[in-house]
């Protein structure tokens, strides 16, 4: 048991290491010269460019650079965002990427976690209801809806919701994000003085936060709800056939009690672990939704870093990739451990494979 847990953790670390190598290779191979952010490449002399390379540390051999890269990662230093880099008093300064990515990760987390709660609140009751009445009208309706939902692009749902519910009918804010905590007086003051027109006033508070996330949550949940509903339904049908359900009924337990305490409890465990396995897809879908609704999450940060006018903001791109993949590795590890807690025999059978996503394309 302990050996199994340790092995899983070791696998997670190996994957993180492989990931750091992959991101570093991307960093090396991308046709973008970071010196361009420090000096004007069109007019700078070769000596100036060489100096810029020296300051950024990009003139050293790849292995040394990789060593620095890993060393800095281990210290939680993701470097500085290139477009903000300034060379001042002999040190390179700029917006630290670690903070940017952390803030973005919080936004993505509030989108994904909120949507998953909504998703489970809809999928579990509906799936259970459909399972208790197979071939009923509700069952057919949920089947039809799920078939349609699987074929609907999240971008389509997001754009239509934004256009009609958000912009035309003005039921919910159509875009933007509000932090959970209230903005500081200083930031509002800074907004009044310096913000260009069109930048919305910084907002905050639980109410505003939830209000701005309603449409993104619905969009996100709609994509997955169909799938989870069908899985809950299938699992419930399986479990309802088990002998212990018959026993519970024979003892005279009410139907509600049979469903709630006997069947659902057994049916829902694999669903919960599946949420972790879907994390990779969830981050992809979150990228669409963040883009459409203007949420400053990981996906939008990545796309902005890729689409910048000045060139690629590589430290941000790498940090987002690393953060997203690390989150997925972590969630899979947690899922493995939860599965282990639910069913100790997986340790002997070798588990479901630390990183096996069910055969579904994103």
């Amino acid at each position: 048991m302990l050996g199994y847990i340790l092995r899983r953790i070791a696998v997670a670390f190996v994957l993180l290491w492989i990931l750091s190598v992959i991101t570093f290779v991307i960093y090396l191979k991308v046709p973008a010269d970071p010196a361009g952010f420090l000096v004007d490449m069109q007019h700078a002399s070769p000596a100036q460019i060489a100096k810029a390379h020296h300051i950024l540390g990009t003139d050293k051999p790849a292995v040394v650079q990789y060593g620095h890269y890993v060393w800095r990662l281990l210290h939680g230093d993701f470097g500085v965002s290139w477009p903000t880099v300034v060379f001042f008093n002999g040190v390179v300064q700029g917006a630290p990427v670690g903070q940017m990515v952390w803030k973005a990760a919080l936004v993505t987390a509030s989108l994904v976690l909120g949507a998953f709660v909504l998703l489970l609140l809809v999928a579990v009751p509906l799936g259970t209801y459909a399972a208790t009445r197979p071939r009923s009208f509700v069952d057919r309706l949920t089947l039809g809806l799920s078939v349609a939902a699987i074929s609907t692009h999240p971008l389509v749902v997001g754009l239509l919701l934004q256009l009609f519910v958000g912009n035309k009918w003005k039921l919910f804010p159509a875009s933007g994000y509000c932090t959970v905590s209230h903005p500081s007086a200083a930031s509002i003051d800074a907004w009044k003085r310096f913000a260009p027109t069109g930048v919305p006033e910084p907002c905050g508070g639980i109410g505003a936060w939830a209000d701005h996330l309603v449409l993104p949550w619905i969009t996100f949940a709609l994509f997955f709800v169909a799938l989870y509903m069908r899985i809950v339904r299938a699992r419930m049908l399986e479990v309802l056939d088990e002998p212990f359900i018959r026993t519970a009924r024979a003892k005279g337990a009410s139907e509600l009690r049979v469903i709630r305490s006997h069947a659902l409890r057994n049916a829902i465990a694999p669903v919960v672990t599946m949420t972790a396995m879907d994390a990779g897809m969830a981050i992809g879908i979150a990228m669409y939704i963040e883009t459409v609704f203007g949420l400053p999450g990981l996906g939008r940060t990545l796309i902005r870093a890729l689409a910048g006018f000045q060139g690629y903001d590589l430290p941000v791109i790498l940090a987002v990739t690393l953060a997203a993949a690390a989150a997925i590795i972590f969630l899979n590890l947690v899922a493995d451990l939860v599965l282990l807690a639910l069913d100790p025999t997986v340790a002997r059978r070798g588990g479901r494979g630390a990183f096996r996503v069910l055969g579904r394309a994103a």
Binding site: L15, I18, I26, K29, V30, P31, A32, V147, A148, I150, S151, T152, H153, L155, V156, L159, L160, L163, F164, N167, K168, A174, S175, G198, G280, M281, I283, G284, I285, M287, Y288, T291, V292, G294, G299, R300, L302, I303, R304, L306, A307, F309, Y312, I317, V320, T321, A324, A325, I328, I329, N332, G353, A354, F355, R356, V357, G359, R360, A361, A362
Partner: protein, 356 residues
């Protein structure tokens, strides 16, 4: 006597066991949803293939022609069923005019079935047809690439097992755990300056081959896993032993004895993969890493009203035309839905486990 011979002939005709494909076809015909979707797909293929230039000929313009008369003075593109003046420039230059002045005498009119696509006033319907062609080219091409790689590596892994299998399987596990879309968008933006212009002498639009290769390179894991599983389960059956005993080489066993078993599920899976790829193309292009304007694709048509990540168009009830979001949305939905349902039907029809 003659009648008797004829009778037996008929009998033997009836008694002849029908082949696997005939059975599958028979089952498929019974599935009304799948048949409907299949007919729709044939119609769709015709519409985006020869249909698009044909329609362009009928109405007399191309997908990139401008019709400023289809855009109101307030810059709102016209809605469906618009008949507009077929001229690329507006007569008169009064900036305070409340209506466009009429064009000179003798200007022909033309029909925009779904209205104008943007402030440029191009034919939305024609762009959806041509965009569908680009999207389907990407989707089908990427599915073919993925299946080609997947079949090769999957059958090698399934047949030989051992370290080949270990490498392919671990690699598959590794890549499948990572956010595919994130990588697609990243690679699509970072590494494709060379291959973006590949068009095979103008056969495809710019960016199509790039997307085909990238999407294919990141989605072959699923077909590889499918083929590997199938081959592994067939690997130690008697007919393989028999073939080995009569001295067939590994390559021959794989090609003529094992791969035919894999084709039916692959066909069904390929259809589903095309549907997924359409979704991926739409997403990647929407996020700015796929097909570049002015080439229409379903992704860029969907992004038309919304704008782009660096300058999203603000919503303005006076200029925003909801049809421009609705029309590509419906097109994407119908295509993906039909492909999904047809693939499902195909899977059920070719699966030998279903009741004959």
């Amino acid at each position: 006597m003659v009648a008797e011979a004829q009778y037996f002939e008929e009998q033997s005709e009836l008694a002849r066991p029908r082949g696997e494909w005939a059975l599958a076809w028979q089952r498929l015909k019974r599935d009304r949803v799948a048949v409907g979707c299949g007919i729709f797909l044939v119609f769709l293929l015709f519409a985006v293939g020869p249909g698009a230039p044909l329609y362009g000929k009928i109405v007399g313009h191309g997908p990139n022609d401008f019709f400023p008369y289809a855009v109101s003075v307030g810059l709102r593109p016209a809605g469906p069923f618009t008949v507009t003046w077929a001229t690329p420039e507006i007569a008169g230059d009064d900036p305070f005019a409340l209506k466009h002045p009429a064009p000179p005498q003798g200007t022909p009119k033309t029909l925009l079935l779904l209205g104008a696509d943007s402030q440029l006033g191009r034919d939305e319907f024609l762009r959806i047809l041509y965009g569908g062609r680009v999207s389907l080219e990407v989707a089908v091409g990427a599915a073919l690439v993925a299946i080609l790689i997947g079949v090769t590596l999957g059958s090698l892994a399934g047949y030989f097992g051992g370290w080949v299998d270990a490498i392919v399987s671990r690699f598959t596990d590794l890549v499948m755990a990572f956010p595919l879309l994130l990588f697609l968008v990243m690679i699509g933006s970072l590494f494709t300056h060379g291959i973006q212009d590949w068009t095979l002498h103008g056969l495809f639009n710019q960016g199509v081959i790039e997307l085909v290769l990238i999407i294919g390179a990141f989605t072959w894991f699923y077909p590889a896993r499918l083929v590997r599983g199938q081959i592994q389960s067939l690997r130690h059956r008697e007919f393989v032993d028999a073939a080995q005993m009569v001295g067939a080489r590994d390559s021959r066993i794989m090609r003529t004895h094992l791969l035919p078993h894999v084709i039916p599920p692959l066909l069904a899976y390929g259809t589903l993969l095309i549907a997924t790829n359409i979704m991926i193309e739409v997403g990647v292009t929407f996020l700015g890493a796929g097909i570049k304007l002015p080439t229409a694709s379903w992704g860029s048509l969907l992004a038309q009203t919304w704008g782009s990540i660096l300058n999203p168009n603000p919503f303005n009830p006076a200029t925003t035309q909801p049809w421009l979001t609705l029309c590509p949305s419906i097109a994407i939905f119908l295509a993906v839905f039909a492909l999904n349902q047809f693939g499902e039907g195909l899977r059920e029809a070719t699966d030998p486990r279903t009741v004959r």
